[in-house]
Amino acid sequence: MGDPNLLMTPAAPLDPITLAVVKSALDAIVDEMAYTVIRTARSEIVKDVMDYSAALCDAGGRMVAQAKTIAQHLGAVPDAMATVLRLFHDDLHPGDALIMNDPYEGGMHLPDVFMFLPVFVETRLEGFAVVIAHQTDMGGRVAGSNASDSTEIYQEGLRIPVVKLYERGVPSRSVLRIIEKNVRVPDRVLGDLGAQYAACRVGEREYLKLLGRYGEATVRVYVDALLDYAERLTRNEIRTWPRGRYTFTDYLDSDGLSDDPVPLTVAITVHEDGHLTCDYTGSSLQVRAALNSTLSFTKSCTYLSVRSVLRQDAPNNAGVFRCIDVVAPEGTILNPRLPGACAARALTGYRLLDVMLGALAQIVPDRVPAAGEGGNTVLSIGGYRPDGRPFVIVDMICGAWGARPDKDGIEAITNPSQNMSNTPVEVLEAQHPIRIDEYALVPDSCGAGRWRGGLGLARQYTLLNAEASLQLRSDRMRFPPWGLAGGRPARPTRNVLNPAGEARAMPAKFFHLLRAGETIRHEQAGGGGFGDPLARDPGLVAADARNEKIALEYARREHGVVLDPVTLKVDADATRRLREVRS
C-alpha cells in the first residue's frame, strides 16, 4: 500500500497523475529509439543479437530512462556523460552529435561506441539522447576487436575520445574517414553509426514533443521526482533486508595468458538507511590480458545485480544508483589503470554478477538462483575470401540460468546481465563462409538439485573458407557454476577442435588459425542446481529423461531415481531403496 508522503517533495506537492504520465512517455521514447536501431542497423551483432542500448539523460547528464536492452550498459551512461559534460559543457550546439569508445573516459571496451545527441529547445540544453552499440570491429590486432589476450589497450583497436561526429548538423568527414580507415568492415561500422544517429534523432524529436507539451520547467520537476521515486522504491525495499556484512568469492578460470585463477570478492554491507556498500577490495589485481573492467562497468554490473533481486519494478533511471555505493581500489581488475586492456571485460562483468548473487543469496535467499552459465561465449572468426573481400563473424553463445529457490532454471536464455538475442544459423551461413553443424542443448549439463539448472548450449562451426583467424573466449571450465542449498554444480564448459577427427580438447580462451574444413565445437556450462538432488520429484526426473535432457545414468547417479530403461517410468521401489542408501 502506498504512502502518500512518498510522492510529496517538501518543496512542492506534485501531481501523481502527471508523474505517471511523464514516466510512461519517457519509457515510450526510449523504446522507440531502441526499435529504430533494429530497423536501421547493418550488422548481426546489433540487429540480430541486439547488443546495444538506448537511454535519455537530462541536461545534467542524469539517466532518466533506459530501454529494455542491455542491462550491463545501464550504469555506464553516467560516467560517460560526465566526460562529455566536463569536456564540452560550453561547446554543445543544436545539431551536434558526439561519439566516444574510450574505456578510460567512461566507456566500457572499444567495440562499444557511445553516441550522445544533445537536445536543445532553442538554445537551451534540455537533455541528451544516448545510444550505445557494439560495433562489429574497431580495428586492432584481432578481427572483432574482442581478443581476450591483448595486453595493452593500444593493441585493441581505435580508441576514440569524446569527439563530435556531427557539428551543427554537419557530419565530420575527418572523424568518419579515420574510422573508415581503421576498421575491417567499414560499411557495417559506419552503417551502424547511422543507426545510432537515427535512433538519437527519433529520441530528440519525441523528447522535444514532451517538453513542448508540459513545458521544460515542469518536465524538469517531474524528472527529478521520477529519480526520487526510483530511489525511494529501492531504499524502502533494502530497508527490509537484514543488516550486516555479507561476503562471497568466485573465480574466473584464468586470464588466458597465465594459469592463475582470477578471484573476484565482494563484501556487501546493508545499511540501516536502505543503502548498500559493495566493496570489491580483495579482488585480483589488474590482469595482463583484456579482462579488466573499468570502474564505470563495475558499477553497471553492481547496479544490475542488485536490481535483479529487488521485488519492485523501479524505473530504469539514476535514482536507483543513489542507493548503491561501489568501492573498487584502483589498479585492480575492477578498476584498472591505463594501459590495461579491456576488450573481454564483459566476462569479468558476468562473474561480478555471480559474486554479487552469491552474497545476495545470504541476504534474500528466497530470491536468488544458483549460478548460471557464467556469461556469453564470444567467438570471432575473421579472414579474407578468395576474392579478397574481408569477413568478420562475431557470434555470441548463451546461456543457462541456475535453478531458482522454487523452480528449475532456464535453458537457452540470455545471461541476466544482457538481454541479447542470437544470430540465426541461416543468416550466419548466408553472410559468411561458415557452416553451423549443430546448435542444441547439451544433455546432462545441468547442475542437479531439488530444482535443476538449465542445460548448456552447444554450437559447432565448420569453416568453408581457405583460412580464418578464430578467437574464442569462454570460461567456467575450472570453476563450474555453483549450486545453492545443497544443489550441485553444473557441468563445466568444453571446447573441442575437430570433434569428428582428432577431437582435441581446447582451453577456455584461445586463438587458432582455422583451415578449410576445420571444425570448432563449443559446449557451454549449464546452470547450477538448488536444493537436495535426492529430494527432486521422481516424476520430473522421468520427464527430463523422456525428453532426453538427462540420461538414465544421470537420473540414478544425481537423483537416486531408477527408471525403467524401456518405458522410462519411475521404478518407485528401487528409487526408494536407492535414496535410502544415499541419504
Binding site: M1, G2, D3, L6, P16, I17, A20, V21, K23, A28, D31, E32, Y35, I38, R39, T40, A41, R42, D48, M50, K68, A71, G191, A198, R201, V202, Y229, A230, R232, L233, E237, S308, V309, L310, Q312, D313, N316, R367, P369, K407, I410, A412, I413, P416, M420, S421, N422, P424, V425, E426, V427, R435, I436, D437, E438, Y439, A440, L457, N547, E548
Partner: protein
C-alpha cells in the same frame, strides 16, 4: 461461385469473443439486425448456430436466403493459450532438434529472475532429427536419408503423435528434402497430417520458420474439426452458404483454406475490427485513421493509411501483452505470417487501478474480467476499475450499463475508489477517479504511439475511429493526449467488429524473394517474376469467382540499405523495373526512410522481396451508407459529470444518439445508445456524417 457477383441475399457477420458472441445480420436493403449472446467456449460454434437460428427466426428470414457467413474466431489463439492443440511432432535437420526450444534467447523484461520461458508446443522427445543438409547456396550438402525419416516417423506414431511438422535448415532455398520427407511420411502413414515449412513460410531464419510451421501443425486438427462442426451446425438450421473466416491480415479466406493453414488465422479476432474500420473510413471520407478498439481487458490500436490497413510480416503471439514494446522478442510464440499490425495494451474497461510500493498510481494489466467484474457490477468485485472511475465521474449511467440489462451500483464504485486510490494518495474521490481515467488514457495512447510515432507518423494527421464497448467513452480524451482533432464513432460501436467483417475484401498476399542490389537489378528477371506473381494472383481470384473487373492487383518492393535486416515496403506501379522505375523506387524509399528515421543517405539499396496484394472486391460487401439500425432512444435527461480535474461536476444533458443530426452540437453532452456511451466533453462538438456515424471535432 457465381453467386458472389450477383448476390442480393442476407449476410451474417459473427465475432466470437471470450464472453460474448456478437451476431450481425445484414439484409439486402441495408437493414442490420444485431444480437449479443453468451459465448460457449467449449464448443464456440454452438452459440453461433443457436444465436443465429433465434435471430433469423425473430426477423422471419429464411435460412436459405443467407448467402454468406463471415466470422472472426479466437479458436486458434485460445488453443495456443490453453495448450489444447494437437499432439505434434517435428522433424529437423540433424543437429537442430532444439531450434524451436532455443528460440531467440531474450527475455521480455530486464531484472526478472523469476521469469518463465514459454513451454515449446512440441516436447523435445517429439522433436527428431534426420540426416540431410542443404547449404547456404541451396545445393544439397548431404542427401536425405529416407531410413532416418521412416525411423523418426515410426517413433512418433508409436507415441501417439497426430500431426508432424517438417522444418529443415536452408529449406527456404531448396525445398527438395522437405518435400521428399513429406512424401515418405504420407506413404507410410496416410492418416498422419503433415505440414512442411516450405508450404507455410519459405523464408530465411530457422527459428521463425520452425515456430510458424509448428503452430500451423499444432492447430490443424482443432481448426478443421471446429470448422466442420460449424459448417454442419449451420447446415442443420438450413444455412448452406459458404463459411468464411477472417485471416490475421484482415482479409477473408474460405473455411477450407483456413483449415489447411490455420496459422494465418491466429489474429482473426482483432484483425476484423481494423479491416472494418478501414472500409468505414473510406466510405466516411477518413482514409487516414487510427482504429481504436477498447474492450474489457485490453485496448488495441492500428493504423490505416489511404484506406489500407498496416501489415506486419511477423508477430509474437502471447498472453497478457502489457506493453507495445515491439522490439522485444520473447515470451510468446513467433508467427511469421502477414498480420494487421495491432498494438495492444493491458488497459480496458475492467483494468484494475492500484498503488505501487513507490506510491505511483497504476492501471492494469490485471483485469477484473467479466467475473467478478468492476466493483459497480455488484458481483463481488471490490477493487476499482476504469469502469468504476467512469461511473463515479458521471460518464456512465450510474444505474445501468449500456443496453440496460445490467444494473450498476454506483455506491460500490465510489467505495472501491475511495478505499484503494483516494485515501492512500490523499486525493478527493473525484480527483482519484480522474487519475485512474487519465493513467488508463496514457496507457492507451501508448498503443497508438507505437503504431504511429514509432513509424514516423504524426497521429495528428489521422482520425481516431473508436469502437468496442468502451472506445467511445474514452475517444475524445485519448485523442487529446495525442492532439488528434477528429474522432469518429461508428453506428453500433459495441458490435462493430462483427459489422466490419461484412465489409472485408478477399485478399491474397504473395511474396517472392528476389535478393539483388538495386544498382545491379536484372530488369528482365524481375519482369518475369512480376508477370508470374500477377498471373498467380489473378488465377487465385478467378478460381474464387471474381472476374477481372472485381480484381485489384498491387505490387510492392521490400527495400533496404545494403546490410540492413529490416525493410521498408514501397509500392511500385507497372510491371517492369527499368532504369526510370528503379530511380523512382529509390527516391520513394529515401523519402519514406527520412520520414521515419530523420535522415537518409545515398548509399546503395537492395531489393529483398517483391510482393503482390491481390484483392477481390466483394460486390455484396457491406456499404456503410446503407446502415439502418433501430435502437431504443434514451429519454432526454441530465446528470452531473466531472469532465475536468478540478472542474467540479457539470450538469450535463444526456441524450439518445438519435438526437444528434448533421448540425454540430457542442459538448458537454453524453449520448447513450444501444451498445455504448459516447462522451462529448466541453471543447468538442458532435455531428453525424452521411453514413450515420458520429463525428467528434475537438477544439484546438
Amino acid at each position: 461461385m457465381t453467386s458472389i457477383a450477383t448476390a442480393t441475399g442476407v449476410r451474417v457477420g459473427v465475432d466470437i469473443g471470450g464472453t460474448f458472441t456478437d451476431l450481425v445480420v445484414a439484409r439486402s436493403d441495408g437493414r442490420l439486425l444485431v444480437s449479443k449472446v453468451p459465448s460457449t467456449p467449449d464448443d464456440p460454434g454452438a452459440a453461433v448456430v443457436a444465436g443465429l437460428a433465434d435471430l433469423l427466426g425473430r426477423a422471419s428470414i429464411a435460412p436459405r436466403d443467407v448467402i454468406e457467413v463471415v466470422h472472426g474466431t479466437t479458436i486458434a489463439s485460445n488453443a495456443i493459450l490453453q495448450k489444447r492443440g494437437a499432439r505434434t511432432g517435428l522433424l529437423t535437420t540433424r543437429g537442430f532438434r532444439d531450434v524451436l526450444e532455443i528460440g531467440r534467447i531474450r527475455t521480455p523484461d530486464l531484472y526478472d529472475l523469476a521469469w518463465d520461458k514459454p513451454v515449446p508446443l512440441v516436447e523435445r522427445r517429439w522433436r527428431l532429427e534426420v540426416d540431410e543438409r542443404i547449404g547456404a547456396d541451396g545445393a544439397v550438402v548431404r542427401p536425405l536419408d529416407p531410413a532416418t525419416v521412416v525411423a523418426a516417423a515410426d517413433r512418433l506414431v508409436a507415441e501417439g503423435v497426430d500431426v508432424v511438422a517438417i522444418c529443415f535448415i536452408n529449406s527456404y532455398l531448396n525445398p527438395v528434402h522437405e518435400r521428399r520427407a513429406q512424401e515418405l511420411l504420407r506413404a507410410r502413414f496416410p492418416a498422419l497430417e503433415v505440414t512442411a515449412s516450405c508450404d507455410v513460410l519459405p523464408e530465411i531464419k530457422e527459428y521463425e520458420r520452425t515456430s510458424t510451421t509448428v503452430v500451423n501443425a499444432y492447430l490443424l486438427p482443432i481448426m478443421r474439426r471446429y470448422l466442420e462442426a460449424l459448417t454442419a451446425g449451420l447446415a442443420r438450421i438450413g444455412i448452406a452458404a459458404p463459411l468464411l473466416v477472417i485471416a490475421s491480415n484482415g482479409g477473408v479466406v474460405s473455411a477450407r483454406a483456413a483449415a489447411r493453414r490455420p496459422v494465418f488465422c491466429v489474429g482473426s479476432g482483432p484483425a476484423a475490427g481494423v479491416a472494418g474500420a478501414a472500409r468505414l473510413g473510406t466510405v466516411a471520407g477518413a482514409r487516414d485513421l487510427i482504429a481504436f478498439d477498447m474492450g474489457g481487458t485490453t485496448a488495441k490500436a492500428s493504423l490505416v493509411e489511404r484506406g489500407r490497413v498496416s501489415l506486419t510480416s511477423e508477430y509474437e503471439f502471447r498472453e497478457g501483452m502489457s506493453t507495445p514494446s515491439r522490439f522485444i522478442k520473447a515470451g510468446g510464440y513467433m508467427l511469421k505470417v502477414p498480420a494487421i499490425d495491432v498494438a495492444e495494451v493491458g488497459a480496458g474497461a475492467g483494468s484494475i487501478a492500484w498503488i505501487d510500493a513507490g506510491g505511483l498510481l497504476r492501471v492494469g494489466p490485471e483485469s477484473a474480467g467479466a467475473v467478478p467484474g468492476p466493483a459497480c457490477y455488484g458481483q463481488g468485485g471490490e477493487r476499482p476499475t476504469v469502469t468504476d472511475a467512469n461511473v463515479v465521474l458521471g460518464f456512465l449511467n450510474p444505474s445501468w450499463l449500456a443496453g440496460g440489462e445490467l444494473p450498476l451500483h454506483a455506491a460500490r464504485a465510489r467505495e472501491a475508489i475511495r478505499t484503494h486510490v483516494a485515501a492512500p494518495l490523499g486525493l478527493s474521490l473525484l480527483e482519484a477517479a480522474h487519475g485512474i481515467r487519465q493513467v488508463a488514457n496514457a496507457n492507451m495512447a501508448r498503443a497508438i504511439r507505437s503504431v504511429t510515432i514509432e513509424r514516423g507518423r504524426d497521429p495528428r494527421d489521422y482520425t481516431l475511429v473508436a469502437f468496442g464497448g468502451s472506445g467511445p467513452v474514452h475517444a475524445v480524451d485519448v485523442a487529446r493526449v495525442l492532439e488528434i482533432r477528429r474522432a469518429l464513432v461508428p453506428v453500433l460501436p459495441g458490435v462493430f467488429t462483427a459489422v466490419g467483417m461484412l465489409a472485408s475484401d478477399v485478399e491474397h498476399h504473395v511474396v517472392r524473394a528476389h535478393a539483388s542490389p538495386l544498382a545491379a537489378l536484372d530488369a528482365a528477371a524481375v519482369g518475369t517474376l512480376v508477370a508470374a506473381l500477377l498471373e498467380e494472383g489473378r488465377a487465385t481470384l478467378h478460381a474464387e469467382g471474381y472476374d477481372d473487373a472485381g480484381i485489384r492487383l498491387e505490387l510492392q518492393a521490400d527495400l533496404r540499405y545494403v546490410g540492413q535486416g529490416a525493410e521498408l515496403t514501397i509500392p511500385f506501379a507497372g510491371d517492369r523495373l527499368d532504369a526510370d522505375g528503379v530511380e523512382t523506387l529509390r527516391r520513394a524509399f529515401r523519402e519514406e526512410y527520412a520520414a521515419t528515421y530523420g535522415y537518409a543517405t545515398d548509399e546503395d539499396l537492395e531489393l529483398v522481396n517483391v510482393r503482390l496484394v491481390a484483392t477481390g472486391r466483394r460486390p455484396s460487401r457491406l456499404d456503410f451508407r446503407a446502415l439502418d439500425v433501430t435502437t431504443t432512444p434514451a429519454g432526454p435527461t441530465h446528470r452531473p459529470v466531472a469532465f475536468d480535474r478540478g472542474g467540479g461536476l457539470v450538469n450535463t444533458p444526456v441524450l439518445g444518439r438519435e438526437a444528434v443530426g448533421p448540425a454540430p452540437r457542442r459538448g458537454p453532452l453524453i449520448l447513450e445508445s444501444y451498445d455504448s456511451t459516447i462522451v462529448v466533453p466541453p471543447g468538442a462538438a458532435v455531428a453525424t456524417d452521411p453514413c450515420g456515424d458520429l463525428v467528434l471535432t475537438l477544439d484546438a
